[in-house]
Symmetry: none
Subunit: 218 residues, 4 copies
Amino acid sequence: MTDQSVSQGEHRIGPIWHTPPVARTKPADERREELLDAAEASILERGITATTVDHVTTGAGVAKGTFYLYFKTKADVVAAVQRRYNDRFVEQLRRAIAAAGDDWAARLDACVEAGLHDHQAERRLHDALFLHTRPEPGPDLDDALDDLVGVFRDLLVEGVAAGAYDVADVDTTAVLLFNTLHGVYDPIWLGARTPDEPRLVAAARTIYRRSVGLPDGP
Amino acid sequence: MTDQSVSQGEHRIGPIWHTPPVARTKPADERREELLDAAEASILERGITATTVDHVTTGAGVAKGTFYLYFKTKADVVAAVQRRYNDRFVEQLRRAIAAAGDDWAARLDACVEAGLHDHQAERRLHDALFLHTRPEPGPDLDDALDDLVGVFRDLLVEGVAAGAYDVADVDTTAVLLFNTLHGVYDPIWLGARTPDEPRLVAAARTIYRRSVGLPDGP
Amino acid sequence: MTDQSVSQGEHRIGPIWHTPPVARTKPADERREELLDAAEASILERGITATTVDHVTTGAGVAKGTFYLYFKTKADVVAAVQRRYNDRFVEQLRRAIAAAGDDWAARLDACVEAGLHDHQAERRLHDALFLHTRPEPGPDLDDALDDLVGVFRDLLVEGVAAGAYDVADVDTTAVLLFNTLHGVYDPIWLGARTPDEPRLVAAARTIYRRSVGLPDGP
Amino acid sequence: MTDQSVSQGEHRIGPIWHTPPVARTKPADERREELLDAAEASILERGITATTVDHVTTGAGVAKGTFYLYFKTKADVVAAVQRRYNDRFVEQLRRAIAAAGDDWAARLDACVEAGLHDHQAERRLHDALFLHTRPEPGPDLDDALDDLVGVFRDLLVEGVAAGAYDVADVDTTAVLLFNTLHGVYDPIWLGARTPDEPRLVAAARTIYRRSVGLPDGP
DNA sequence: TATGAATGAGTGTTCATTCAT
DNA sequence: AATGAATGAACACTCATTCAT
């Protein structure tokens, strides 16, 4: 920050840059996104509680006050980061299901894989965001996050309607099966012994398939 | 407050009380337990982050400094409360399984019921402890909490050995199925639409049974 | 907001409006007055300290930067508002005295009434301006405000010259009697027990009359 | 605070004081009073708004946190300082009246003198406290300050009862005459031309005496 | 003339932890 | 063992002011 430590002894008058000190103003969307990125990076690095507004602004290369031009409070950015993560994930899940074609077993498998096959960074972000030092959930967040379960519920509803799945209580089962994957990497439960991804995928696939009345099959 | 104004003028030698001035000192275990209780109550009421050492000592009726005679840091008590909760839960789970007798389906059901049928207060404590504003997990905590999954893993191992369950990867499945229940009440995912307990139990029972290759039926 | 997205592809040269794009610029006096009005309104509503430059510019419907085209600092507007209030009051006092005709007792009474019979809003503004959270007075302000006492001093001087009033030290008495009325509504001194106006007028009239050697009588 | 600038070059290990670093704990009353003194001094020097909690604690030679052991907020100390000032003043006024004996004219004069004859510092404190940047009055403050007018009202009531004073509306007159003195030194009204004390006393005495129907005379 | 994004110093308040008694 | 006064680093948020456009 104060690393511009001008090497003493150099005789100078006036400003040191010959290039202008950077464009002062940016499209609002871009600025907001940069702040969001910085917040996400900091949360990933230190967790929500340990992240300070200063970390965010420094990371985004803006002054402190700028933060409050785009977010009302610290809790506000955190919620925005969560929402953004969630939206990305929902999209990913939707795409995975669509890519699986018409095979109902394959669609189910796709959910499992999409749920477990996160990049390392994504997964750590997920944990930081939803497992560690999480702020009280607000109504705003609730709606956004419900989508996630909703995607899975929709799949079950369609599968049942198509006669492919055998599920009595779709709503509740969706919640439970979603839960099976969510937080599975949470270090608090697994310590150092996190099962590796292939095993997790295999075991989860079995649970999912059997739970909707499909055979384990290939 | 500082009214120790001893009535002046009265001539006296030696202490004035014939009964000891109250047992200022208590068995260490008792004190520790009281602090733990106070911490638990406060966490239940306001969550981990919002709980201060002051809340704990006030709740336990001791001076602030006393806290540090029994715990090294705030994080230390929190971990202790978590451990205590976990131990209670493990015990409860073990008892439920034992009470189910030799019926492997009943044993599985017992796990589901024990996992979901918490008292309201217990459940809120669970959420406060493990879902909201949770501190970074330490190695110490890991071991303790692993027990919980361990109980379930043991059941699967035995069931498989007895030829009653059909599970390929016991370790991983234990983690996943445990996960299915844990956090299912988490308001962040469900908002106001938490399914009621009977439906949860029914749906979870189906998932559990099917996942180990048992039929739904009672 | 940043939707100035000019429809691309349309080929055009030169400006598109034939009517000027709204009078962006106003007579300086008008703008200044609008800012002053906005400042006054905000001060009336929240007091000086709580009033921000943002409140003023928003109230005046201009951008923040515009403020600094008309005033050097926040303290500057506040002083201007004070000066404006003062000028209005001086004028009012002068008119009241003039309207009282040649009767020296009536003239004195007129001062009392003018001093106490403010509209509710005016009085609240007065208090906000001169009683609550007032900034340090500057030399600039002093001169302007001195007028107010000056009006009253002039009356005394003339009254004494005419042999109607009996006052030894006119200058000092003017300050004191002015003071008698000023701030009399100040809630800090009166709490909820502010005397009602008729009683205040009656009592103040008596003080004023007796102080210059006139009888109470009408 | 960081004035322990150890003269560099002196070779030393360990602490620098041979006398213990000052008693860490003090009687609560004393500490509170010291904080109050520091707050008063800072208010006197810079005014209420410009006074920071840091100024207060530095002035009292304690850490920032200590402040909040004795006062709930900054507004709280300010109110306490005001109350303390007020109490001192009320006491002073009471004593002055009592010292005047049975002479009703002398008692009135005593009020005038007590009201005007402040030490320079006291007067500046009064202004800082009650004239500049004053916080919103609370019910707590109201009561305390009402005492001041109350003292004067009591005098009028007794004087009227004794047949010495001729005042129709005692309550209102008390407020007005109190007001005549309060704030008379306010620089906002007088600029550099503050009348000197002897003249103020003389003129005010005349106003007071005449207002209660007494002759000017010695 | 007018704009409004950007700045960054400033401040009240909290709270885990220490330590002299 | 027990106390509780004292500490001080940390942090979210505000707002007057600037300046490139």
